[in-house]
Structures are given as C-alpha cells and as structure tokens.
Symmetry: D2
Subunit: 405 residues, 4 copies
C-alpha cells in the first residue's frame, strides 16, 4: 500500500508518545501487535498500511521533547526504559516535525499545560485554520506521504454550547470567516483536515468533527471521519457487560463507577468543565443499553501515585427473579497509554483503508472503538464488533482467503 503520514493533535501527550514509541518498537522488531485490533482476525484480513511504514508528525502546545515524555512514562512501566532507548533516535526525529498548535476554547486546565503562546495569540480564527492546513501540507511533503490521517489525541475540552449553530458546511465556513471565537480547537483541526481531504479521527470526548456541518463537508468532499472518545477501559467493560443484564432481563437498580487515575488526564478532569464532557460520554453507554436503569454515576478522581495507570471499581446492584437483589463488582487496572495507543494505530490503518476504498462521512465499522460513536446508536460491544466484521467481509473479498480464517 501507499505511504501513510500520521498527524497527531496533542503529539507530545502520553497517548501519542506511546503510540509512536510502540510503532517504532514494532518497526525495530522489539514487540508485536498484541493489543491492536488490526493485529488479528477479522481486521487483519484487510489490506492495511504497515505500522512500520507510518511517518509521524503533529501539533501540540507543549515543548517537552518526546524522549523526555517517554522516559517519564517509563516510570509507570509503559513503555519500558529499554524500549524508550531503542526508539529514542526515532522520537527525536519526530520532535522536529511537531508544530505549535492551538488550544482555543480548551479550558483553563488545558491552556495551563502550554509552554509558549498558542496560535490564537497571534492569529484570528481563519488564520489559525490556514496555518494548520499549511502545517499538514508541509508535513505531507516532507515525509513524502501519499495520504495523511489526522488523529486528535489532545486533552479533553469543555463541552461546546449550542453545537446546532454549526449544522451545515456553510455555517461552519461562515463562522471561520467571521472569526467566531466559540469554535473549539478540535473542530478547527477537524475542519482543516477534512477540507483538505485528510481522513480525521477524534480519539477524545472533545467536539472535533461531531458537528453536522463538518459531516456535511466530509460527505461532500468524500472524506471519511469518525469519533469520538476512545473506549479503552471501564467503559469498554461496561459495553461488554451491560448487554448481559439486558439480555437476561436482570433489572439494574444502580451502577456505580469509580475511576482513579494519576496522569495529565486526571489533572485536567479535576477541572469541572472538562469533566462534564467526559462524563456525558461515559454515561451514555449504559443509558443506551439499559434504558430502565435506576441510577448511574461515574466518578473520576485524580490519584497522583497511580501515574499513567487507571483503576476502575464498578458496583452493579441488580434485581432478578422473585425480586432478588444481587450484586456484581469489578476492578479494572490498566495502563491508560498501553490501552489507548494501539487503538490510535488501528484507527489510522482503518481510516486509511476507508479512504482508499472511497468511503466518506462517518464510519460505522469503527463504532467499537468509541464511547460515543458518531452516527451509530449501537453500544453493545459485540454488535459493534459485528459492524467491523461485516465491513471486513465486504472489503476483504479479493485479498482474504479461506486459509486466513
């Protein structure tokens, strides 16, 4: 396949750093594709770009070098110190391709992370967008990529009020031209990508391409896009477990979820405005699968000693036959980056495939990757996997063989 450029918004963050370090570790033969959905059936039957061939670049408002971030991550064990050193040279090369981005409307907590003046300090909205487009194109040429995939892995923004204002392509473009100060960074990045024909994936709960006007644009321009909010831990488990209660007609009276985590995400989520966006997305999964549920709360707390690890305790109080009250509880302990990073690589591969296949607009086959999959009402994890499998069946015809199964 053709060479794929990967442009990461929030390129200096933990998820981006781990994704890039992981891709390079695979290229150096130090690890395999465990944890990647495209590393196994059914998605492995597709003709996908090789992770080893990815060229990375991106935007960020921080200036910390990737090696330094990777070393800091290695204190939590992922990646290991050995892996960091093995890919350090590669990361330093990528460092030179990361440009200063925008954090407009990302909230105080995110803005505080920045090391220098973001784009919006110098430019109006339209100029910010133009700069982003220039950055995309310069990168694409520099790495000689046939295709660019843009993935937003930046920290969570506050929820956008009244997104209906931007329900057509024209409304979005007028807002940009009129220097509308309400448009959040994630949507500017999304607009710039889609307008230039680059597939866009929103890995975060931020707005990104989740405006009807941007979907409108994507369909008109024949560009695939998808989001939002990658389903990596507690919510992933919920989407696997909740259908069991529904299917067995067990009435969930309360589902309490308590998440503790120690990385930048946790710090940013201490800010109430940013947390609201996150919680809305996490809560929706259960509401959809268990519409009659009595009580549903998700707590996210910052526990510094956990570093990049996230622990979730969920307590499910349910009623069965003869009004019997029963309980289930689970504890999930995972490395946030180790769970998220492989999905970034998966989504680049699958977005590139969709682009190659001529798909445009939202991509329902990617629903299993997201807490709030755009354009898909299905939250049952197995049924979301079925959407991917069906896509593979449609597209793997010539390349997949019986022997692959």
């Amino acid at each position: 396949m053709t060479k794929t450029g990967v442009w990461l918004i929030g390129a200096r963050g933990n998820v981006a750093t781990t994704a890039m370090a992981g891709a390079r570790a695979i290229a150096h033969g130090r690890t395999d594709e465990t944890g990647m959905v495209t590393g196994r059936e059914p998605a492995s039957r597709l003709d996908l770009p090789a992770v080893e061939e990815f060229a990375f670049g991106g935007h960020d408002i921080r200036e910390t070098g990737l090696v330094e971030t990777a070393r800091s991550l290695s204190e939590s064990g992922v990646p290991t110190a050995e892996t960091v050193e093995a890919v350090a040279e590669d990361l330093r090369e990528i460092d030179g391709r990361i440009k200063t981005g925008t954090a407009v409307n990302c909230g105080e907590a995110v803005a505080d992370l920045g090391d220098g003046p973001p784009l919006e300090d110098r430019f109006g909205v339209e100029e910010v967008v133009d700069q982003i487009r220039d950055d995309y194109e310069s990168f694409r040429r520099a790495v000689d990529a046939d295709r660019l995939v843009v993935v937003n892995v930046a920290s969570t923004e506050p929820e956008l009020a009244a997104p209906d204002r931007y329900d057509t392509r024209e409304a979005v473009e007028r807002a940009i031209a009129d220097d509308d100060q309400d448009l959040p960074a994630s949507s500017l990045y999304a607009y710039a990508a889609i307008a230039d024909g680059h597939p866009y994936v929103n890995f975060t709960p931020s707005t990104g391409s989740a405006l009807d006007g941007l979907d409108d644009l994507a369909r008109q321009e024949g560009v695939p896009h998808m989001g939002r909010d990658a389903k990596t831990g507690e919510t992933l488990v919920k989407s696997a477990l909740a259908p069991m209660f529904a299917g067995r007609n067990l009435r969930v009276m309360s589902w309490e979820g308590h998440n503790i985590l120690g990385n930048t995400d946790g710090q940013v989520l201490e800010d109430e405005a940013n947390e609201a966006g996150k919680l809305a997305s996490k809560g929706g999964v259960l509401d959809s699968i268990l519409p009659d549920m009595g009580h549903n709360r998700v707590r996210i707390d910052y526990t510094p000693s956990l570093g990049d690890w996230k622990t979730a305790w969920d307590y499910i109080h349910f009623e069965g036959f003869l009004d019997t009250q029963m309980t289930m509880q689970f504890t999930w302990e995972g490395s946030d980056s180790a769970l998220a990073a492989p999905l970034v690589l998966d989504l680049v591969r699958l977005a590139a495939h969709a682009d190659e296949a001529g798909e445009s607009g939202v991509q329902p086959q990617l629903a299993s990757f997201f807490k709030s999959p755009l354009g898909v009402d299905e939250h049952d994890l197995s049924r979301q996997f079925d959407l991917l499998e069906a896509y593979v069946e449609r597209h793997a015809g010539s390349s997949g063989t019986e022997a692959d199964r």
Copy 2:
C-alpha cells in the same frame, strides 16, 4: 395457546422448587417476570404459553415436601417467607404429582440424597424407562395438558465414559433392551421423553440428551431437545467478557475462577467424580472464545454458610500493547435459585414454542441459556442472543409488529 405440562427431573430440588414457587407467585400477582428472558424483547414477541397456566409435576428420589424445601430456601432469602406462604397451597398440590425416580449412575453423592429405594432397585433398565413413560403420561392426563415439556434440573452426574457407544437410535434402544447398566438416569429420562414426543431440556451438566443416538431419535420423531448446563452465573459473565479480550487482541495469560457455594450442588460437587463433569463444561467457554489463553482454572468449593448463594471471584491476567501486563477481577454474588429458576420457565416456554412450530432436534436459538449448547460452537453471549433474536424474527412475523420494537 394450549395448556403446558411441566415435568421436572429433580422436582424437589432448589431450582425446581424456586421455579414452581415463582411461577405460582406470578400467577398470584405477587411478582413479575424480571429475570426471565421471555419477559422482554425480543422473545416476548413470540406467542408463548403463559407461566400462569403451567401445570407442574416431576420425579425425585427425595421425599421432603416442597413447602419444607421452600421454607428452607427462604432462610437464604429466595423466595421470601411471605411468598412461600402465599404459594404453599399450590406447592402442596404439586407434591402429590411427584413420583419416585431413578438415580442410576448418578454417583454416591447424589444417591446419598435419596430418601427411599429408587426405581433401579426394583427394576431393570427397560422397566425403569417404561415406568418413567407411564409417569409422564399419567401426569399429562391428570392435568389435561396438550403438551408436556420435560426439564432435567437434578444434581450433576459423573461424566459418562465412552458416550460414542450410543451414537445411533438403534444403539440406545438396544442398550435399554439389553439392560445396559452404564446408561445414566438423565439419559433414561431423556429417552423416555423424546420417544413419547415430549420436548426435553437438560438444564444440568449431566449427559441427558447429549448422545448422538438421542438426537437421532429426536430428529426422527420430530421432537425438539436442548442442553446442557444452564449458564447462570460466573460462566454467564465469562461468556460476556471474554469476547472483549478477544476482540481487542488482549492476550489472556491466566483466567482464575473461584466459586464458593453453600447448597446441595456444592455438597455434590465436593465429590470429585461429579465435579469433573461440571468443570469440563465451565472451562469450555473460555477455551472456545480465547483459544490462545495460557492458563484457565475453575475451582468450586463448598461454603456452608452461603446457603443458596453463590459467590464467584475471577481474576484475569492479560497482556496488551508493548507487553504490558494488566488485570481485571470481578466478584459475582447471586442467589443460585433466583438465577436458575426463571431460565427453567423460559426454556419450557421456548421449547413448547419450538414444538408447536414443528422444530426438531437441537435448538440453536437456545444456545445463550447453556454452558455447553448442543450443536452450537458459538460461546460469545451476544452472538448467542443474536441466534435467539433471529429465531424470533423468523417466527414472530404475524404477531410481532413494528410498534413492539
């Protein structure tokens, strides 16, 4: 619909008693169908016999009255003392329709539960079968039922050695005629049911109708049958969770399951021979969904103070991206009877429906009810639910409407 007679093998056990008490409590308007799969979409769209109309009878080797068993169960809270008193009269009536059965090849632990001489003490194999058939027919007439469904809810038998001996209808019938002392009770009950055209469901890990010769008979006689080993607790959760690990390419290195329970089942499983049958069935679910799993152990221990409650702790050690080791653990605490009993009623309804619809042989649409579904390789719970939904789609055509969805 027509009147349905329900014949329970192990009619004096906890599951049977709770199923009957629950059905009568529903009939008296004291509780609803929570916990019953047929109490909600999609199965509720089928034209099913009403639980309120079920007539109950059965075989057992114990003589303890149903009210006494129900009161003993109410010490564990299910059913409540109030419910027991409300249905006590109904249970006493059913008492009169429970006949002494056989426990041949059920193992020492089961035989020890018996209060009087079982059928095999007086009869040869063929006479035992004849007596069972007489008991079925007498009951059907007594309660004036149009259809009889036989469900095995007796304690677990030891595994049958060399079941291939019974791979044709002829082999089974010859064995009965030749007084083959190896055939276990569950298969004698199954033969008697199927030979007389009664749908048969094996709720337990025992052999029952899981002999090729009995399936042969069922298909020839046009009788539906299904089993085995109802999936009520820990294994149910496993079948919902394991596909998540598989789908995300997370490599499960170890899955430890520790079950503690305090009822007769626990006592019987203390006997190693009986436990072997149970564990084989529980382990198969993970082996099927996670073929590359490194280590898989299921422990079942008897903890008297738990009464009819079962607690399972599962610990899942898995590897993700960049060789990262992570863990998930869950604790499930449920009333064994409350979880099992509604499924008995569901299976009666759905077996009756299949019979009415002219189905015969194994019934894959019932796979989601079983740990070892006969004739179905799929152990992913959601995909098993899909089999039921597809059946409903095929059969609810005229009665189901858009408005039901």
Copy 3:
C-alpha cells in the same frame, strides 16, 4: 444492677429504631448479643445493666411511628419482618415517650426531615434547654429509672465554626443565657444531660459534648461523657488495617475510600455542609496512624437502591522494599443499622457502668467505639481495645474470676 433509662436523640431514626427493636428482641429471646462488644470477653466480665431491662424514650423532629420505621427497615432485611412484628407492641409503647426536639443549626437537610415545628420555633435557647431537661426528668420518673443515659444518634450537623468560644463552663452557660443562636442542637442536648447528672454519649460526628466547656462541666459535676462518631464500617476496618502498614514500614502513597449508601444518612450527606463534618472525622484516623501518607480521599455517595446497606470500596496503593509498588483493596458490605445499633446498647451499658463507678469527664476506655474519640489520640483499633481491657481489669476485680477468662 439498677434500672437504666435510655434517652435517644433522634429516636425515630434507623439506628435508634434498630437498637430498640434489637433490645426488645433480646428481651423476648428471639436473638442474642452477637455484634455487641459487651456480649463477650473482656467487657462481659463487668457488672453491667441487662439490655432486657432498658427503658427507652427520646427526642425527634419526625413523627413517623417506630413500627412504621421498623417495617421500612425490614425491607432492607434488618430487622426481619418477623422480628418487627414480635416487638411491635413494645415499640408502640415507646412511641408515647418520644418528645418533639430541636434541630437548631442542624442544617437544611436535617431540618427538611422534620414533620412539625421544632422547639426552637417556639422558644429561645434557654427555654429549649429547660424543655429538654424537663423531658429527661419526666421520662426518668415515668419509667422509674435509677439512672438515665443520653445518647445522640441524630443525623449529622454541619461543623460548628470556632468552637473555642465555648471553652469553659461559664462560656457555655453565658451563651445559653444570652440566647446564642450558634449553639447546635447536639450541644444543647449534651448540656442538658450533663448539667442534670446524666451520662452523655455522642454517637454522631456532630459537636455534642466536644466543647471544652462541656467537658469542664462534666468533670465538675462528676458526669461521664464520650464521643464522637461511632466507628461502624469502613473506618473501623481502616483502624484495624492501617497499623499493619505502619508497623511493617510500608509507605502508603494513596488510600482511596469510596462509600455508597442508601439511607437517610446518605441523603443528608449529599448536603455539602453536613458531609464536611463527616469526612473530617473519617479522614483523621489514617492521618493519625500513617502520618507520612501521600494521599487520602474519602467519598460518600447516595445510592438509593442500597436502602440501609452501606458498601465501601477502599484502594490502598503502597510502596515496599526496593521501591516496589503494591496494592490492597477491600469491599465491605454491611447493614448500617445492624452495625451501629448494638454499639448504642454497649455504650449505654458502659456509660452506666462508668457512672456507677464514679468516673467523670471523657472516658478513654470507650475509644474503640469512635472515629474521633474525645481526649484520646490513639486510633489503632487493637490499642483502643487494650484501653477497654485495662478498664475491665481495673473494675472487674471482685466480680471477675479466673474461670471467666
């Protein structure tokens, strides 16, 4: 021993109702003293008043009958419906001895629970106190008690600002005379008790007798008093576990505690002002035992379906030898009333004993009962138990014999 009158502040609440129902159930021979500290060694060696002989009365701002409250509790299983009916007549008799009390400075959430106008709507502070003293005395005479013990089991008040204002007996008495509107209800009840020579126990996190001026009064009048905040569940476990980490020099980096509960307490604690008082008390135990701990958070959330049950999940992240990070987590599931009620009866017995023995002021031997024991810095549960044992050694001399041990 002499007859003991028990006056409960918050007499219509769950804890009070369960304590009274339990005492009467013991009197009727329906249950035993399991769960009561005084029901076993070492405290059982003291010459204590019999629970069967207790006469109950109290104050409340609600008017719901005790039988109704007990029946509502029995929906959560404690006490059982059978027990409630067995003691219903006794509870109705007690109903007639419960007077309307005061909720002054108890916060909005508590005031909202009231059914009629509390004392402070009709009276100034001094008159409220006088009314309380009249109520105490009338009850004592009515039940012909030799001694009255007053126990505060009312809902948690907001924290009192600047309690140092009340650091002498004179300051307290002047405040009452001057109609000081800041004194909270719990302290008015405490003043009235101590001034009249009745031992006072504060079972709650409210201020109660935790004013230096009230301790001053108690010592001058020769009255024992103690508090505050009974240690019934999660904090009890913490006070048993934390010394293990300290003693082994394991450095606790984070201790997260998440409590979910469904009763009135939970509702009241949803009010932030009331929660602050509770959390200060719970947090102190760990700060005392693990002074170098990095991070300590306690969450209390209201989960209606739990009724009177409380579930706590605690996650302890600690560092050991060679900088190794390890974890412990526990889940505690208890009936709040079943855990608290027996301690109320214990404290009545032990306060009566202290009074009989001529003790006055704070009572360190009762430290193990409280999250914030007055006058005691020791939070290690075993060492608190040792204080009780030493008290028993001192006082059981004549009545205890070698054979008792």
Copy 4:
C-alpha cells in the same frame, strides 16, 4: 557494632537473592529501608548492625548464579533491571561463598530443583552436620565476621511426622549419631548453627528449630533462635483484620482465602505433601483469634504468569446484630520477594541484637514476623508489635533518647 555474617539456607532462591540485592542496593545508596521493620520506630531505636555491613554466604542445592536469578526476578519487576546491574559485581562475589547443601527429607518437589548431588548423597547424617559446621566456620573466617546469623529461606519441606521423638537435646544428638534418616534438612542446619553458637532464624514453614530438643540446646548454649514461616502477605492481613471481628463480637461464619502465585514456591506447593505444611501454618492464625469460626479454608494455586507476584482474595462471611449476615472481601497483590526480603534483613539485625544482649532460646519479640511464632500464642498483629515495642523499651534505654520518638 561488630561485623555480621549472614548465612542463608536456600541462598540461590528468590527471597535470598532479593534480600542480598536489596542490602547491596542500600549499601550503594540506590534505595532506602522502606519495607524494613527496623527502618522505623520503635525498632530503629535499637543499636543494630548496619545492613550495609552485612557479609553474605549460604547453602543451596542449585547452581544457578545469583545474577542470573536476579535478572530472572527483574522480569517480574523486583528488583529492577537497573538495580540488578548495579549490584551484579557484589552478587558474583557472594556466588563464590555459596556451598552445596542438603535437601534430605525435603520432598520430591524440592529435590527436583537440585542441579548436582546434595550432601546426603555422599555422607551420613553426622557427616552432613559436620560439613555444614565446617561451611559456617570457613565463611565466618573468610569474611572476618564477629557474629554469624543463619536464616533458613529454602523451599517448604513436608511436615515431619512425630516431632516428639526429638524432645531433648540428647534425643537430637543421639539421632544424628545414629544416622537417623528422618531428620529434615532444616533441622540439621538449625542444629549445626545452634551447636556452634550462631543465632538461627527459620523463615519457612519447615521444621527447623521447632523441635523441643533444639530449643533445649539453644537455652543451654545461650543461643537465640526463632521461627517459623514468615508472615508476609495474606496471613499478615488476616492477623490484622481478625481481631476486629473478635473485638466487635462479629461471628465469622466462613473465611475463604484463595492464593495464586507464580514462582518456585507455587510449584513446590503443587506437591500435596509440601502444601500440607504450609496450610497448617496459615490456618492457625485464624483459629487462634477466632476460636468460634465456622469454616476456614486456604487455597494455594500455581498461576505461572504471575511470576514472583502473589495475589490473595479473601472472602469473609460474618454475622452481626439481629442475625444479620454481612461480608467483607479483600484482594492483596504483592511481590513475594519484595515483601519477604526486607524481613530477612530485619531478622538478621534483631537476632544479632538479641545475641549481643545475651538472650537465648525463642525470641517472643519477633512474633510479629511469623505465622507460627515459636513459644508465643498471640496471633493478633498489634499485640505482636507490642511485644517488639516492649523489647525495644527494655533494650534501647541508653541509646534511645526522647528526641528519637
């Protein structure tokens, strides 16, 4: 203080390797004494030998180099790869001081670990003992130590039948002289140590010095000894928690403990004979603190993927006031070596101190370190800590000052 030689039985095992690597890491300033009881109050007030000054040697039946074992351990994270390299030279030096030992009566599972012929293949019992004494003395001279402390950290032996045969010094010495083939390796090592005046500590559940004849010898020779079975994980927690249930008169109906571990210990315990010794020791703690407990089971299972980590899940089913059934469960996840190794260093220091102070026979102040403390009936962890504190009070008189507290 004087120079201390540390002789480890099982010197090539995980615990020994981690203890030595840890001591050397402290000496190199790479880590501190976190996890060591003697690293904090009260024990730190004693005049103890410095860990940095320890000289190490020992016996083993394996020949794998310490660096290789340490590197293998570092795959489980403890010690880290960086630490192993930092102490590699030191470990290689120690390698030269490890002699081939005996595994007589250690069971098949232990014998299978050996790389060459153990002592008993060449010698009779008396010669084995003589060789051990020679090895002790050669080492002491080689490292120029003023004192030698012998610690048994070898794998668990099967239980010794009829230990009463060896109830006097004479009986033990006669058995050795008569070539009694029943004496286990741990007791031969203990005899050799005590006979030559070296303090002996049995860190394992094996017999070691737990023969009355060896205690006899120790008291006659003025040598301190102690054991057995270090309390590092699940049992440690039990000994902290069980007194809470006892003190509150909460009746434990069932206490289920399920341990899974992946190191050599786990493999050896798969052997039933060896497991019996371990379980007897673990079970005793609860039996002592909760004599009325209904049911108590401890399971130990081998889960290879856990490496050197041990996970315990305990489920406690208890009854409180008004016959209310409640539950507590905990999960403990620890590195076996990281928990055990610092205690080895603590015990060397404290045994050396006791020797210096002229103590002989069993050492009750060390009870908190053991599951089955010799000569001490107290299993309550806090009370065991009190024994240590009292010892410190007696001995730290001159060196401890107010400022230390």
